[in-house]
Symmetry: C2
């Protein structure tokens, strides 16, 4: 093993990201990672305690890549920018993103993204409780959309076609059949814009009313309520 750059936590995380994106999560193994690093599988354990820790660091690093919206721009633009950032991340790191989305543990780097989202929603006039609820709403939209896109790419070929089309022949699905041409006309950008538009319209409408769904128990006499 001549003149190989020394193993570092950073190099491991970067290489793991690459392997994950190129090979997919289920083909990612310690042995494969070590091979890519030109190193014995056990060498990695000098720097990170186990496979789970490696994956966690990969996710942290990926989320840390997310650009934050300009706090000076209007709140809708900021929410939109966050969604776009998530979608771009999914395109850049598909393997990582598929791990990230249903990931059960909290990610440190996500805090700043959340903070930006909260601030935008508050500026949009949402009551505190609704701003708190808005974050998963926005995140889930962007992430879910991106995951659908990734699944579609994976499916190939004929990217525009409806994945269920082949199954349609049996049953009785008039609406689905009617909408098939719409779905075949793949325009992810327009689709994404549609969902974002619906979300923002909904949030704006909600902010307009000034109301909030009453919390379960009136235990707490409601803190800072007015914007």
């Amino acid at each position: 093993m001549p003149d190989r750059p020394p193993l570092t936590r950073d190099r491991i995380v970067r290489e793991a990201t690459r392997v994950l994106d190129e090979a997919g999560a289920d083909r990612f193994s310690m042995r494969r990672l070590a091979l890519a690093l030109g190193v014995d599988p056990m060498a990695v354990y000098r720097h990170l305690p186990n496979k789970a820790a490696i994956l966690h660091e990969v996710l942290e690093a990926a989320v840390a890549e997310l650009p934050l919206p300009d706090p000076g721009s209007p709140w809708q633009e900021r929410v939109g920018a966050l969604c776009v950032a998530y979608r771009d991340l999914a395109h850049r790191h598909p393997g990582v993103f598929r791990l990230l989305y249903p990931y059960p543990r909290p990610i440190r780097a996500e805090l700043v993204v959340r903070e930006a989202c909260f601030a935008a929603l508050r500026d949009g006039g949402l009551a505190p409780a609704d701003a708190a609820r808005g974050w998963p709403l926005v995140l889930n939209y962007a992430a879910g959309f991106a995951l659908d896109e990734l699944a579609g790419w994976e499916r190939l070929p004929d990217p525009g076609s409806d994945p269920h089309a082949a199954l349609l022949t049996g049953g009785d699905f008039p609406e689905t059949r009617r909408l098939a041409p719409e779905m075949a006309r793949a325009d992810p950008a327009a689709d994404f814009a549609f969902g974002l538009d619906v979300l923002l319209r909904g949030l704006a409408a909600r902010a307009g009313t000034g109301e909030s769904v009453a919390p379960a128990a009136p235990a707490q006499p409601e803190g800072p309520n007015g914007a």
Copy 2:
């Protein structure tokens, strides 16, 4: 191995569902399933070709459990009922649901659910293209919300607390800190209703305009919301 009920595809799928929900996806193995069935691991292969096929059938069976909304009720109620059905499914089959959501292959049983959703959205006055786009929007909302809930339960204890709270101590997150009490007041039902409300308001507003984002070709510079 005395007087054991005969192995059938159905029994395998049912037992696999149970094991998956109780042990989680990463502890689900052919050997564990076979043990639960009281049978040699290889016996299962007489009925289903491999592990992936078993998981696929488990997902099909789970999705087939989804109740369909009453086609006579108003469209908003129907969309809401679909979301609730997905959430209930997640509660009933957490292990399965975690597999279901980012699942890349199409599920036959989902066709009827999609059909119901399309019909509701069309009845809500959405243009065909938007009805097609609305389905993933609605599904992703319900599924994403349910996944968040599952992750929260898994995390335990102190279910109401913000998972990031412990990480907050370091940085500067005024909005997050301000909303912390809101987030600690866990009321999933109200949270779910909020998101649904936002979604339905957005969809209704969108239907009201009668407009639809133009499909790719005529290079309309931007949708109603430039990102």
